[in-house]
């Protein structure tokens, strides 16, 4: 069964600093990979996704993520964080065949300091 690990529960960065959110997955074949963001009291919004092709994917709000098969990772980056980026970020993996089952990691809460 597929699984997702987000090793950082909390991350604090200064506004304007760069950000990297880590995600490792476990799945026997090439998966679909996603990053979602959740602001307080809100549902989940898709930031970016990887299905196939170019391993560096661009998302909304200036986020990008890189799929590295050899490391089973799908880390997300942003070169300059804004205060409005403070939220919870979830990595998710779905199987490539059959009915999609979307499995989430436990999330990383991002705090942005002035």
């Amino acid at each position: 069964a597929q699984s997702v690990t987000q090793p950082d529960i909390h991350i604090t960065v200064s506004e304007g600093a760069s950000l990297e959110l880590r995600c490792n997955y476990s799945y026997g074949a090439t998966p679909y990979l996603f990053w979602y963001v959740q602001s307080p009291g809100q549902g989940l919004q898709l930031l970016l996704k990887y299905f196939s092709g170019d391993t560096l994917v661009q998302g909304i709000k200036g986020f990008e993520a890189e799929f590295k098969r050899s490391q089973s990772s799908f880390n997300q980056r942003k070169p300059s964080v804004h205060w409005s980026d403070a939220a919870e970020y979830f990595c998710a993996v779905a199987q490539l065949t059959g009915f999609q089952k979307l499995v989430f990691g436990t999330g990383t809460r991002l705090l942005v300091s002035p």
Partner: protein
Amino acid sequence: EAGVAQSPRYKIIEKRQSVAFWCNPISGHATLYWYQQILGQGPKLLIQFQNNGVVDDSQLPKDRFSAERLKGVDSTLKIQPAKLEDSAVYLCASSPGDRGRNTEAFFGQGTRLTVV
């Protein structure tokens, strides 16, 4: 395009009472999911429908939880009787749902359930 609609947004009930949540997915989406998100955790899949059939309910506590998707469109999730540990946000999501293709899921705002 209208998003995934959920109601109610908030619900407070006493333990052993029953509660129901409603979800209307994006029009034309074949796949509908119900997730449970306990505070501080990632969403956990409770049940997944493809049209009006269940494709995965392995993590649904069937002694107290039930769900249906009438006519392959909107869905209800019911808890009866509720326990304190059911306090969570219940998220509904939908996706176009073709097998292995274009499986981006769109989420509603969720229903926050508090069991006291």
